[in-house]
Symmetry: C2
Subunit: 310 residues, 2 copies
């Protein structure tokens, strides 16, 4: 009956098995996905594809993938699931190369941090495989990157957003959803545009603001004096300023419309705050900070409840 995943034994999560997982880009994100599925015993073989032979061999040595392949046709023809986990900027090139080599039943998903651009690239390049493509985004990560940073528990209790399209085969969506649930993630569905708008606000913009703070201080002649007195607040605020430059270049360019809209909203609020400071309006500043604090504490409480539940 199902049009996708006939080589996936799957009648309920207990019997979910992927005979062959292909990971394109065996770094933090793809590597952690592979490790989680291997730990759960639901994948027979993990094959790595990628542009860097050195990185792939490192991933093999670390046990993140079973073997590296340079033969894309061999790797993809009988794959159960392909996870695209390279930087978003390589998406079009990888899809173009991959499309004619994909098995008819192979399910494809991705882990790109932006979704509208990935969906466009897929429409332009995947052809018949489009119906088995399930765009996704694990909302997890770290400032570290590479296979050596991969770990089997990265996705536990994390959100994963899937943005299937009306034409996406339901069996393909189920396959990807189940794989993420096996990794311990909480899976949400939304539209690509909604995903990009929300992530611009809670992830892409904070990264931009954090990069900018460190950048601005670092270029000063007396930067060392500033860094010497930087403490815990600075540490946490700037943790994400050590994020992967290539990945963030790609994210920022891919999602620039939503991101610039978020930046507009943020700068408007910052102008209000600046005016309160210039006016010396202590009561309004207190109320402003109180609203932030209340919202941040409520968010933390909500997160704690989710963690306890799982």
């Amino acid at each position: 009956m199902s049009q996708a995943g006939h080589n996936i034994a799957k009648d309920g999560r207990n019997s979910f098995v992927l005979s062959k997982l292909v990971v394109v880009g065996a770094g933090l994100i793809g590597g952690s996905f592979a490790l989680a599925l291997k730990r759960a015993g639901v994948v027979r073989e993990v094959v790595g594809l990628g542009r860097s032979e050195v990185s792939l061999q490192q991933a093999v040595q670390l046990g993140v993938i079973d073997r590296a392949s340079t033969d894309w046709a061999e790797a993809l023809a009988d794959a159960s699931l392909v996870m695209l986990a390279m930087p978003v900027g390589q998406m079009t090139a990888v899809m173009q190369r991959m499309a004619p080599l994909l098995g008819a039943q192979t399910v494809v998903t991705d882990a790109g941090s932006t979704k509208a651009d990935v969906v466009s690239a897929a429409f332009a390049n995947l052809g018949a495989a489009m119906a088995n493509f399930v765009p996704g985004h694990p909302v997890a990560g770290a400032e570290k990157s590479g296979a050596s940073a991969a770990r089997a528990d990265l996705y536990e209790q994390r959100c994963v957003v899937l943005t299937p399209l009306p034409q996406t085969h339901e069996a393909a969506v189920q396959c990807v959803r189940t794989a993420w649930e096996v990794c311990g993630a909480r899976v949400f569905n939304m539209s690509p545009e909604q995903h990009d708008r929300v992530l611009a606000g809670v992830s892409h913009l904070p990264h931009l603001l954090s990069f900018a703070l460190v950048h601005e201080l670092a270029q000063r002649p007396d930067a060392q004096q500033y860094f010497d007195l930087a403490a815990g607040g600075f540490r946490d605020f700037t943790r994400i300023a050590a994020s992967h430059p290539e990945m963030w270049r790609d994210i920022v360019l891919a999602n620039r419309t939503a991101l610039l809209a978020e930046l507009d909203c943020y700068e408007a609020d910052l102008r209000i705050l600046r005016a309160l400071i210039e006016q010396g309006d202590g009561d309004a500043l207190h109320a402003y900070f109180e609203r932030s604090r209340t919202a941040r504490l409520a968010w933390a409480e909500q997160q704690a409840k989710i963690t306890q539940k799982l």
Copy 2:
């Protein structure tokens, strides 16, 4: 010989003893100072003064202070050291009330997050006691506040900035420096203006930016959707948005000139970043993020070395 601290047995740190420490505001900052000195066995009695009877009684129950007093004259007359650890906005009122009651040998210090305004207030209000006043700022804190958050190890390996003036008695500076060193802190001297400029950049501005991000998102009708997908980057970036509103109102107002200057620099850099995004200049964005990442990693490495050394 020394003009301050004759009731402080102090010939080397080993014999440093405070017969009576008075803490005005026995919250996180003052309470942790008291706990650290008590743990080290260098203080015979800790007396708490403050505006809230309830908070002081809580501090007694928690063992943060030995007793609370409502009689400022009794508390201050024979004090070895007075730590002013209430919000900066109360500084003038507390100094006015305290000045005529201080013993001639009593050393006074503070823990205010801004220094130029505290020094002005001290000049205006402390009178003869000015020579025994050592302005200070422990660059440590947490989003929590109150005596229940106080802990003896809060200042271990943290920076404390002292901003003594030309007329400050050297014995008073030594007393305060030794007390902080006993708490495990690293003590730096600089001018009040230099302190305020540096802290505006690495602490006050990040707090402002973090408060603004949460504030802007929280006021949206669909805020919940954003908070649902907020992950680790958001968590760290916004930790300081849960900071104490009254404390931050006072800091922002006290240091507004330096803070607005830092905000100007930051917004100028953000405009450069915005232009790169609008132009879609991937190479320049990559280089920008790379510079931030390099600086942030260098900072983290420097911090790790300091921690290992101590």
